[in-house]
């Protein structure tokens, strides 16, 4: 079996489209928020795949020579930021969902359409 050598890149795209599909087909606001985290997780896979180096070590030099081949530390720092952004956006969105449910009694995006036209 031969895989395309760059399969992680395509898996990132697959996850991105899966998440978008989840948002579009969603019938529950919490479901929509979770699908949004799936969209975000595609960027983790993509960033990690870009910074990966075959046979490289983790970029932590505790007990490592400073000359060895390591994977890219930059993308990992970017991903850390990304993870924090994900949680905070989810916290904020879920608070909106909770409040909207308390005010309107519904959790379905189909019924929460007060702003049309």
């Amino acid at each position: 079996m031969t895989l395309p050598a760059d399969y992680p890149y395509f898996i990132a795209a697959w996850i991105l489209l899966c998440g978008l599909y989840g948002i579009v087909r969603s019938r529950h606001l919490v479901h929509m928020v979770i699908s949004l985290t799936v969209v975000q997780s595609s960027t983790y896979v993509l960033l990690l795949a870009i910074g990966f180096r075959q046979g490289g070590y983790a970029p932590v030099f505790a007990g490592l020579h400073t000359g060895v081949k390591v994977v890219d530390p930059i993308v990992q720092a970017l991903m850390l930021t990304d993870v924090v952004v994900e949680t905070t956006v989810v916290a904020l969105l879920l608070a909106m969902v909770v409040k909207a449910h308390e005010k309107s009694g519904t959790t379905s995006p189909d019924d929460l359409r007060f702003l049309r036209g």
């Binding site: 998440g19 990690l48 932590v60 449910h101």
Partner: protein, 90 residues
């Protein structure tokens, strides 16, 4: 070895991403989400990103599902409370 593990893990991640968005029941989805988060953390370890893996475990396995569960609990509580209030009114 890493390559085979990586292929398997990524395939599993791709499948469970679809699984997460195809799960309609929200409580089930929370559990599938934390499973998905753990798979991601495993992949981060495998691909030499221990810092991100730790963050992903604390976030994907603790913080995110916790917040979703809190939100669901609060909505359930609210429903019960308003239901009871309505009953008392009647």
């Amino acid at each position: 070895m890493t390559v085979i593990l990586g292929v398997a893990l990524l395939a599993l991640i791709a499948a469970s991403a679809l699984g997460v968005v195809r799960t309609d029941d929200v409580t089930c989805q929370t559990i599938s989400l934390s499973f998905y988060g753990l798979l991601l953390a495993l992949m981060f370890f495998l691909f030499r990103a221990p810092d991100v893996a730790l963050a992903q475990i604390t976030v994907g396995a603790i913080a995110l599902p916790l917040m979703v569960m809190l939100a669901i609990t609060r909505m359930k509580h609210h429903k019960e409370a308003t239901g009871r209030a309505r009953k008392e009114q009647q």
